[in-house]
């Protein structure tokens, strides 16, 4: 027996209506139904952070969410963050500070960093490192990612004052 549900949602500004099985993970829906393969899948149990996306304005794990639960949601994946010509601020800082090597963790890191910059003052390096603790990176050793986040925080402060 298989069950089917119809969902409507907005991903990177585009409306989609699709019929899916309730057991389909949002991460697989994004990658395999919408063919947006920028969202990566590592562990499928919430540990690695590679599948992190922006869901109604908050960073969430797409592997711990069912596609049916995204009915009515607005989602941004790395494809919707910016373009090569017009990168988002956090993407720019990642590039300037060499905050990626293989790039596997990067889409999830970007979604995490964007949300963390929005929600916390991030006044110390420790606070940034704690904020990154839910995303694993096997390449960079994290230092350059910390540098990129610090650069965004510094610039934001300048923008405010």
């Amino acid at each position: 027996m298989s069950f089917q549900k119809t969902i409507t949602l907005k991903v990177n500004g585009v409306n989609y209506t699709r019929t899916v099985e309730p057991r389909l993970l949002l991460s697989d829906f994004i990658r395999e139904d919408l063919l947006l393969t920028g969202t990566h899948v590592g562990c499928e149990h919430g540990i690695c952070g590679a599948c992190t996306i922006t869901f109604n304005g908050d960073s969430i794990r797409s592997c711990l969410t069912l596609a049916v639960q995204a009915d009515g949601a607005e989602i941004t994946t790395v494809e919707g963050m910016g373009s090569q010509e017009n990168m988002s601020k956090i993407q720019q800082k990642f590039q300037e500070h060499h905050a990626l090597q293989c790039g596997f963790c990067t889409p999830g890191m970007l979604a995490t960093c964007e949300d963390m910059v929005k929600k916390y003052p991030l006044t110390s390096e420790d606070e940034i490192r704690d904020g990154l603790s839910g995303n694993l990176c096997r390449c960079t050793g994290y230092q350059h990612i910390v540098d990129a986040v610090q650069a965004v925080v510094k610039e934001d402060k300048r923008d405010v004052s």
Binding site: R23, D58, S59, L64, Q69, T112, K119
Partner: protein
């Protein structure tokens, strides 16, 4: 690692959710999914029906209650608890401790009802609710019942909830006046489940008419070192009525806590190491709470002095 086949329904009212849960032998509530989804992805659990309770308005929000308490809807997310101004004002212990709960992306979805119902022995919310004497509202086919957190937590990952019952609200009564607290947690990485955590509250008497201020209410709770979060009433009783705490009392309290808990050995730490942590962290946390109580006593006196100077 993909879930087995199941059906999914969005509950439109608490009664509807109870009916849906009762309609199948193998149904399960899904709230934030932050504990349930890993289990389902691993196929450690193969439910036939998931009932989504996150869209029920009755289960949302943090409300102020008469007498300085609060009432929290079960589907309130961890990040809302972390940032709520009402909680910061009335129960800063919760605001402080929530940063230890997982990572932001998990806190953006995980709920207080889910954390309590999942009853992980190393989770923060069961300990916090136990410390704060919270009362849990549970609705099932026969209606509503209210119970204490102590009765609710039966063992590791086990509560008294029946398959067709829903935890709907969590009521926290106000703390006594002049309460100070401390909370400490040790985990391998920020956001990991705790190896050990300790929470202490100390409430002082008013010291009116020149009487010495004494400890009127004291609460000590630990988690990560026992089947469930645990309050140590024998240690609490040893503190009540005291006007000062020296290191021998603090040692004695920590010894009592350490001999009451029954920690397990697992991949992350041995039982002995957990017992060591419980001993040291109880001393540290009790000392911090006591120092805060002393400091606020001094600032209260200073306020009084300032006021009398102003009056002159």
């Amino acid at each position: 690692m993909k879930p087995a086949i199941f059906d999914y329904e969005v509950a439109t009212s608490i009664e509807h959710a109870v009916r849906l849960l009762s309609s199948s032998d193998n149904s399960k509530i899904i709230a934030g999914g932050q504990s349930l989804m890993p289990i389902i992805n691993f196929r450690l659990l193969e439910p036939s029906l998931l009932v989504d309770i996150t869209r029920l308005p009755d289960l949302q929000g943090i409300k102020s209650t008469l007498g300085g308490g609060i009432s929290i809807g079960a589907s309130t997310k961890h990040h809302e608890l972390e940032t709520s101004l009402l909680i910061k004002e009335r129960f800063p212990l919760i605001s402080d401790a929530m940063k230890h709960v997982a990572h932001l992306a998990i806190r953006n979805k995980g709920t207080i009802g889910g954390s309590l119902s999942h009853a992980d022995p190393a989770a923060e919310l069961p300990l916090l609710m136990l410390l704060l004497d919270a009362v849990l509202h549970i609705t099932g086919p026969t209606g509503l019942r209210k119970i204490s957190v102590k009765e609710f937590l039966v063992g590791a990952l086990t509560t008294i909830l029946e398959d067709n019952e829903i935890l709907t609200r969590i009521d926290i009564p106000s703390l006594p006046k002049r309460t100070n607290f401390a909370f400490n947690e040790l985990s391998q990485r920020a956001g990991d489940l705790a190896l050990c955590a300790v929470g202490v509250t100390i409430s002082m008497s008013s010291g009116m008419l020149g009487r010495t201020k004494k400890i009127k209410d004291a609460r000590i709770g630990l988690m990560g070192v026992n089947d469930t979060a645990i309050r140590i009433s024998e240690a609490e009783n040893l503190l009540i009525g005291r006007s000062s705490l020296d290191s021998s009392i603090i040692d004695q309290v920590a010894q009592i806590c350490t001999s009451t808990i029954s920690p397990n050995t697992d991949l992350h730490a041995s039982a002995d190491f957990r017992r060591h942590l419980a001993l040291q962290m109880t001393k540290k946390t009790l000392t911090e709470a006591w120092e805060k109580a002393q400091a606020s006593k001094t600032s209260e006196n200073q306020n009084k002095e300032n006021q009398s100077e102003e009056n002159l």
